[in-house]
């Protein structure tokens, strides 16, 4: 079930709120667990069992790791937890990728498994891993209440698209959390702004990106429009979903970590990845990069660590070569910055911004293209190497048609609107007090209108 759907907004969510706030405190996690399972089953009725098995494995492993702390059995249990979790992820997400490549290399024809990817498996697998590793490291005690652990893993606000909430961040909140009008209002605002980002910007830019892919009159300008539109689409799509998750969490009394912090204002790729999908970046840093030695090793090993982490980051996004190349592409820039560009980019911020936007747009062309050839053609087209005309009537038409939304998206990707609102809130508190509920009502009604009008509203990060 999508947050941006009528069935979620007007059927599921009201029912959850009634149940959640009707039951006493001790039963809230049970309600959260059951409704989360229902939420998941709505989209993946068969794979709900798989998720329950993953939770049980995580729960048992956590208890065993704690029981055998400082003993080899703890290490073995952690290893078992990793093998089970990653094994499931590998089987369901990556098996066909490996079989296809194996067949290509060996010229064999082993049949593909053709399994449907369980929604959110990449997210909940990483959450379970963070839990067992943190218990092993002694950062958190094992959760003795299976309902609490299951509620954490399956919690519907962050189940299918993150952020990757660490157990250590919410362990205390699972036992005791506060619900207040202020917090809930913040959650409502956050949710509606996230919903608006998704519906009014990401979906519309998605249409524009789609028009490019089907265009028979491509041009240099259209290639750039596509790269910009897709880069903005994926940002507003994913950050909008993260906003909705954080907002829903607040309504239910949780504080999830922020997942985005205006990545497009970065002046280096290093900074970009501190601002983009923060929960994933920090997960790889803490559970892969640092255990590999981080930067406290020889230069060669350091570079190896960076390449491993970024190859895995790319691979996490999808079982295809373009995702791996996408990850390695960023590894290349990160190493380049560490070796040569760091000082220059710190000094010349404007150049840095330009460089980041260019590098990121090219990266998302690789990321979003259905195949390498299309990505390569588009990149060649962007730089005038594909023999395309500078602009066509079609390009001019779509540029005119989507100009307003592109401008809104560009401005919306910077902190400017937030700054202006904060200023206005301080200067005209009484006006904003009236203005805010009106904006909420208008956005909610308009978002509903878009949902009612459209029957197909896919979410980009579902495939991860």
């Amino acid at each position: 079930m999508l947050f941006s759907s009528i069935s979620f907004l007007y059927y599921f969510f009201p029912a959850v709120l009634i149940l959640y706030f009707a039951v006493p405190k001790m039963l809230k996690n049970t309600v959260l667990l059951l409704t989360s399972l229902a939420f998941y089953a709505w989209g993946e009725p068969k794979y709900v069992i798989l998720m329950i098995i993953s939770v049980i494995c995580g729960y048992v492993c956590g208890l065993l790791i704690e029981k055998y702390r400082e003993k080899n059995a703890a290490k073995l249990t952690l290893l078992a937890s990793c093998v089970i979790s990653l094994g499931m992820l590998g089987y369901f997400k990556y098996a066909d990728f490996f079989i296809t490549n194996f067949n290509t290399v060996t010229r064999l024809s082993i049949s593909l498994l053709k399994l449907a990817l369980p929604i959110g498996i990449s997210f909940y697998t990483f959450q379970i891993l963070s839990y067992t590793v943190d218990v092993y490291r002694g950062i958190v005690p094992a959760q003795r209440n299976p309902i609490n652990l299951a509620a954490y893993v399956t919690m519907f606000p962050q189940l299918i698209a993150g952020p990757i909430v660490r157990y250590s961040d919410v362990a205390r909140q699972l036992d005791s959390r506060t619900h207040s009008v202020d917090k809930a209002a913040e959650g409502v605002r956050r949710f509606i702004f996230g919903l608006s980002k998704k519906i009014f910007i990401a979906n519309i830019l998605g249409e524009l990106a789609g028009l490019f892919l089907y265009s028979k009159q491509q041009s240099v300008v259209f290639c750039w429009i596509y790269a910009a539109a897709y880069s903005l689409q994926i940002y507003f799509d994913f950050s909008g979903y993260s906003d909705m998750a954080v907002g829903l969490g607040k309504i239910l009394g949780f504080d999830f970590m922020e997942n985005f912090n205006y990545p497009y204002i970065s002046s280096s790729i290093t900074e970009f990845w501190r601002r983009w999908h923060i929960s994933l970046g920090s997960w790889f840093r803490d559970y892969v990069y640092i255990p590999l030695g981080g930067n406290r090793v020889s230069k060669l090993k350091w570079f190896r660590n960076i390449f491993v982490v970024w190859m895995l980051t790319g691979f996490w996004h999808g079982a295809a070569w373009n995702f791996i190349v996408w990850g390695l592409y960023f590894a290349f820039f990160l190493i380049l910055e560490k070796l040569y560009l760091h000082k220059f980019l710190s000094k010349y911020k404007a150049v840095g911004h330009f460089y980041v936007l260019l590098a990121v747009m090219v990266s998302f062309v690789i990321f979003g293209a259905p195949n390498f050839r299309l990505a390569f053609d588009c990149i060649k087209g962007m730089f005038g190497l594909a023999g395309l005309p500078l602009i066509t009537a079609e390009t001019a038409y779509y540029l005119r048609s989507y100009a307003v939304i592109l401008v809104i998206a560009v401005i919306g990707a910077t902190p400017l609107p937030k700054k202006l609102y904060t200023m206005a809130e301080k200067k005209f508190a009484a006006v904003t007090a009236v203005f805010q509920p009106v904006v909420i009502a208008v956005l909610f009604i308009a978002a509903t209108a878009y949902l009612v009008d459209g029957s197909f509203n896919p979410f980009l990060y579902f495939r991860f």
């Binding site: 969510f13 809104i408 007090a433 209108a449």
Partner: protein, 368 residues
Amino acid sequence: MKYNIKNLASIITAGAIISAFSLWSVFGTKSDFSESERRVLAKFPEANAETVLSGRFMSDFETYALDHFPMRDTFRGIKSASVLGVFRQSETNGLYVQDGYLAKAEKQLSDEMLNHAAERFQYIYDTFLKDTETNLYFSIVPDKHYFLSKESNRLAVDYERLVSEMRNKTEYMEYIDIFPLLSIEDYYRTDTHWRQENITDVAVTIGKAMGVNPDAEYVTLELEKEFYGVYYGQLALPVKPDTLYYLNNTILDECIVTSYNTGLPVKKSIYDMEKAQGRDPYEMFLCGADPLITIENPNAKTEKELVVFRDSFGSSLAPLLVEEYSKITLVDIRYMQSAAIGSFVEFYNQDVLFLYSTLILNNSLGMK
């Protein structure tokens, strides 16, 4: 304190919207049919182990929830207004409003579709017409976007190429150019079609090209019911309805119209007043969608006969050619297999007119 009130107001606002529409969605009365979209709405899906485990129940429920959402048309109108008015996009769901006209933006010329249409015509020619003494004519009706795109620099199919491609592929027919006779005022503001009262000159031009002279006098009658065309329903914007006029005279009154919609001959009339009161009043012209219909004119000036292969534009034009022909047969190969034509129509020395709109030629997959 002010912030608390603001927060409370935010929660109450969102809560009120969610509660109101949730309750209305669950307990409100449901309709089976959408008048504005002219389609049957989804029914509540069947819930059993198979549909639930396969996920079909959930996806069907999603459709059901969308179809039966309260004030659905109002919400669709809000969306259209937001897309066209706030975000200033050129179109919404492929439709736009310009100078009070609602139109479909036909942007990409499809060679595949033109080839399909031409291939169907060629099949009919090779199978039924080639060795007969029939006189073959072909005419293309421009859609509204042809006129509106010129005025506003909107992206449009290359109409010149469309016509020239179709002419090249149908060289066995004489082409009758009616583009110069038409302007946007000759079309309904809210519908796809042309206005019958404005196309008498088109009928004369086509008639003369076929060697007849349809110059009858008509009485212009007004349909009392307001005419909300197909684009009105699709856009859901609050625009004024059209007024539908139709032309009549004693010759048309005395014609014998026979529909073969059900396979058996059923007597009808040129103007179906029952359909005029229905969901799509344009269907009053020769009963709307019909695979095969004949008009017999006992008062015809000549013994000539005409066969028209046509889409819905032909329904309002054919009555204006009636006076010159003793019999007109209208064939719509979107609702009838081309191969079956021979079972219903015998070709000898009739005039045969292929009359198709650019919309249908460029989206011809429905031609069988």
